[in-house]
């Protein structure tokens, strides 16, 4: 064994950074970090049944102060990419130099190590060069490669080995291990779970983190382990996001531990989570190959993340996943299940979360698994609907239709039913429903008995996506509807979903693999129920009366008990002060109308309405006056990104108003952004009725 460097020369890459913010997983930690590569050569061993030898090479990041260990171990495995600068072979003899894909996650490895983790990132070029010659496209070989490295670290931790000698003896906490795999590496980590479980001395895996992973064989990882994924919405390689099957297939198999989770990163592509797969590195490219798409393309106003920003997201979530599940650090779980939003460094980027806890965290109201659930829900109560059409199940086992969108729709746009190259399993059974008018509703009754007591749960939760293929959804407009809760005494209360969720958005993009019907978790907080008895809840109804028409796909209706360990310190709550209604903006008076797709800032504080300079939000009535086109208007704080949800939707020539609470930005200003046809206009009025400070 020899290190890639000629001798073991620790490289100090990070100075101590004691400014540790518990609520931000992406900060640099207090440990100095040493980076060292190790290798046994490029032809160190041949995985079972594999057509050629592969390398045993990795880079490790570890806290320089090993004496304060032992530290948990995290393993990274890259996906399929070029192997050598002069050819797709292995080893690279005569074919240029090695493309070091395993160094593409240095940004994350260093950060995690600074918080007290030992991170190794494994090279798998030898597998990449030949994996089309084995039946499973290399999944088992990758699992064996991971295991070899883990066993090497077991040796390092017990008796030591070259090139580290006894440096790590007693310094590695092998009771806390996690894995991350990118793309085919992701399928390798999932396959490794069962490979490891079959060992006489398995490693206690705490979490598996696939990123943009393949799922050719539909590996099912379900024995109470956490699986947390990143899904790049603008993936141009594994464009059907087939890894979502990992979640869908295992979501009802976690009996007493673990969870299924994915975070969809809007604007992210397949490659840029790995810096070595990012131009101008050799062999690197932007895998999203359609520049003309308005969201995933490269034109003005696109929704893409820069490579640097994509890795900001990657770093934040890798830190969240591993520091929570492997390190047991409190404070970040709310970023996994989404109940606390996003890590601070990701706050300006669009990400959406789906989370399913184990059996002890849920009470399933309607799993929507087969046609019987359209009549009787999972709790045994009646499931009925009014004025919804269609109202059927799709995507699951026959006789359900295999896909939920019309024939001819690219399966890359339907991840939950995307076919698998090595499996005939069907996809996610989901409710396909839609409405026109304001009388449509879907009602689930809760039978009398202990099921009616939902006081232990924090949320009503379900997964949902707007069905872009149904013309009843206005293109580009988000959806909204109410959830009506009824108790055994007849008390009722409705909560508008749009107040609590940002996943009702219209999926962006128009070309190739986008838009997608990809479901994310919607949560309605039960703490907001003040007029019904949560100890005797008898009925939950989704009431589609907030928009004139629409269509959604939906699954997993349940009550959810969030296991947030320790909430990070939040801001001090503000107080609300009422005002006599007062007009602070009226563009009809000496101001030009708002122009489509052009943002404009308005100052809200000061002036005659009495909003003080230290107010951070106002309540009020927003009015779109005489719009020349159908569209919507977004309102957000100056200095922040536009939200996905609009403040008001309108039709051409129709003056409409809506209530809202609007955060104030720099200088006490808000920004308006109308979405209409090019060149179209609308006037804008804002009356304030109160403020927060």
């Amino acid at each position: 064994l020899s290190p890639r460097v000629s001798s073991l020369i620790p490289v100090l890459v990070l100075a101590a950074a004691p400014a540790f913010a518990q609520s931000d997983p992406a900060t640099t930690g207090p440990h100095a970090v040493t980076t060292v590569e190790y290798t046994q050569g490029d032809t160190a061993f041949t995985p079972a049944g594999f057509p050629g030898p592969v390398e045993f090479t990795a880079v490790t990041f570890y806290p320089t102060d090993l004496v304060n260990g032992p530290y948990p171990l995290v393993v990274y495995l890259h996906g399929r990419h070029g192997t050598c600068t002069g050819g797709f072979v292995w080893p690279c003899t005569g074919a240029g130099s090695i493309i070091p894909s395993y160094r593409g996650y240095d940004y994350s490895g260093q950060q995690l190590a600074s918080h007290g983790y030992i991170v190794i990132s494994i090279s798998a070029n030898g597998i990449n060069a030949r994996d089309a010659s084995v039946a499973d496209l290399g999944a088992v070989a990758r699992a064996e490669l991971i295991d070899r490295h883990l066993e090497f670290w077991r040796t390092l931790n017990t008796v030591g080995a070259a090139p580290f000698g006894t440096l790590f003896v007693g310094r590695v906490d092998l009771t806390r291990v996690g894995t991350m795999g990118h793309s085919r590496g992701g399928e390798g980590t999932m396959r490794h779970w069962s490979y490891n479980a079959a060992k006489a001395q398995p490693f206690p895996l705490k979490v598996i983190v696939p990123i943009g992973a393949t799922n050719f064989s539909r590996w099912q990882v379900n024995q109470n382990i956490a699986v947390a994924q990143l899904l790049p919405y603008c993936d141009g390689d594994v464009s059907n996001l087939q890894a979502v099957h990992f979640y869908d297939d295992a979501r009802y198999l976690m009996t007493n531990g673990g969870y299924q989770n994915y975070v969809t990163v809007m604007g992210a592509n397949h490659n840029f989570f790995n810096s070595v797969w990012t131009p101008p590195a050799a062999g690197a490219s932007d895998d999203w190959g359609i520049p003309g798409d308005p969201f995933c393309g490269t034109g003005v106003g696109n929704g893409r993340l820069s490579p640097a920003n994509q890795r900001v997201v990657g770093l934040a979530y890798l830190a969240t996943f591993f520091r929570t599940a492997v390190g047991g650090e409190p404070g970040f779980f709310g970023y996994i299940d989404g109940t606390q939003g996003k890590p601070p460094t990701v706050s300006t980027f669009a990400v959406h979360t789906a989370y399913q806890g184990h059996d002890g965290q849920r009470r399933d109201l309607n799993r929507l698994l087969d046609a019987s659930n359209l009549v009787t829900n999972t709790l045994g109560g009646a499931s009925t609907q009014t004025d919804l059409s269609p109202h059927d199940l799709c995507g699951g086992l026959a006789p359900q239709p295999q896909h939920c969108l019309p024939g001819g729709t690219s399966t890359a746009r339907m991840p939950h039913t995307a076919p698998s190259s090595l499996s005939a399993l069907r996809g996610l059974s989901q409710l396909r429903t839609g409405w026109a008018g304001d009388s449509a509703q879907w009602i689930n009754l809760i039978p009398a008995g202990p099921s009616r007591d939902v006081t232990q749960f924090d949320f009503l939760q379900f997964r949902l996506t707007v069905n872009f293929a149904d013309g009843r959804n206005p293109v580009g407009s988000p959806q909204d509807f109410n959830v009506r809760f009824t108790d055994g005494a007849g008390g009722t209360q409705s909560l508008r979903v749009g107040l609590f969720s940002q996943v009702l958005f219209y999926p962006p993009g128009t070309m190739s693999a986008v838009p997608k019907v990809l479901q994310h978790s919607v949560r309605v907080p039960l703490a907001n129920l003040t007029s019904v008895n949560r100890a005797n809840l008898s009925e939950v109804a989704l009431v589609f009366n907030q928009t004139s028409s629409g269509a959604v796909l939906l699954s997993d209706l349940q009550f959810y008990d969030s296991p947030v360990v320790t909430a990070p310190p939040g801001p001090t709550p503000g107080s609300y002060f009422t005002l006599a209604p007062c007009r602070v903006v009226d563009t009809r008076i000496a101001l030009p109308a708002l122009v489509a797709n052009n943002s404009r800032a308005f100052t809200v504080v000061g002036g005659t309405c009495g909003v003080p300079a230290d107010a951070f939000a106002v309540s009020g009535v927003v009015v779109a006056v005489d719009p020349t086109d159908t569209g919507n208007l977004k309102i957000f704080a100056l200095g922040e990104s536009a939200p996905e949800a609009s403040a008001i939707n309108f039709n051409a020539g129709q003056t409409r108003s809506n209530n809202g609470v609007f955060k104030l930005g720099t200088g006490g200003q808000i920004v308006t952004l109308p979405a209409m046809g090019a060149g179209q206009t609308t006037h804008f009025v804002l009356d304030v009725t109160g403020y927060f400070r």
């Binding site: 049944g49 594999f50 057509p51 050629g52 996906g79 399929r80 990419h81 070029g82 192997t83 050819g87 797709f88 072979v89 074919a95 990449n128 030949r130 089309a132 010659s133 084995v134 039946a135 499973d136 496209l137 793309s183 085919r184 943009g212 393949t214 050719f216 064989s217 141009g236 390689d237 594994v238 464009s239 059907n240 087939q242 397949h270 062999g283 490219s285 895998d287 999203w288 190959g289 359609i290 295999q402 896909h403 024939g407 001819g408 729709t409 690219s410 399966t411 890359a412 746009r413 995307a418 076919p419 698998s420 190259s421 090595l422 499996s423 005939a424 399993l425 070309m511 190739s512 693999a513």
Partner: protein
């Protein structure tokens, strides 16, 4: 064997396709020792069956030619063909040539003949060709359309016990960013 061809596009993307053939785990031999992987099949002596070049490279993949060779297996090998486990004694190595170097991708790269999946393509070192092993004799026929795709293929009607690799495939239409290319096999009665 000769041939000129440039017919395209090939099979309808909507066409429901019936059969394909796949490797079943590692190859298992009925009589002699098992071959461990497809690379071992490619190392066997081969006989040229068909070869051709397109007058013009086709589609985004710039498919420009193909070569089909037959290899006699040293012993019958157990594979899954058309959803059924069966023993075969010969295999076909299909090599596709491309005008522009391929990009190494994570999505599976499939050989397709007349719309049927027939093996995963392994890129050559120079990325200007890729080859796959196909065991389905019924697909190696006069006039068949051969192509390559990164599409996710659909597999249906596979016995659950054999679902590790799959049999029936069909393409679903759509404007995916993935690529489909085709050329027309013309075996000229060579077999």
């Amino acid at each position: 064997v000769s041939l000129v061809h440039s017919q395209h596009p090939a099979p309808s993307r909507r066409a429901a396709v019936t059969a394909a053939l796949v490797f079943f785990g590692s190859l298992t031999a009925s009589a002699a020792g098992p071959l461990q992987n497809l690379a071992e099949v490619k190392e066997l002596p081969r006989t040229l069956v068909a070869e051709g070049s397109a007058r013009k490279a086709e589609t985004a993949l710039t498919l420009s030619g193909y070569r089909v060779e037959r290899a006699a297996l040293p012993a019958p090998q157990r594979v899954v063909v058309n959803g059924r486990t069966t023993d075969v004694s010969e295999a076909w190595i299909v090599t596709l040539r491309f005008e522009r170097a391929l990009t190494v991708r994570d999505q599976a790269f499939s050989l397709v003949i007349d719309g049927r999946w027939c093996g995963f393509l392994q890129e050559a070192p120079n990325l200007l060709s890729a080859d796959a092993v196909c065991f389905d004799a019924s697909l190696i026929r006069e006039g068949a359309a051969v192509g390559a795709t990164y599409r996710s293929i659909e597999i249906a009607s596979t016995p659950e016990a054999e679902r590790t690799l799959g049999p029936h495939v069909r393409f679903v239409d759509g404007d995916e960013a993935v690529h489909y290319s085709s050329a027309r096999l013309h075996l000229g009665g060579a077999r």
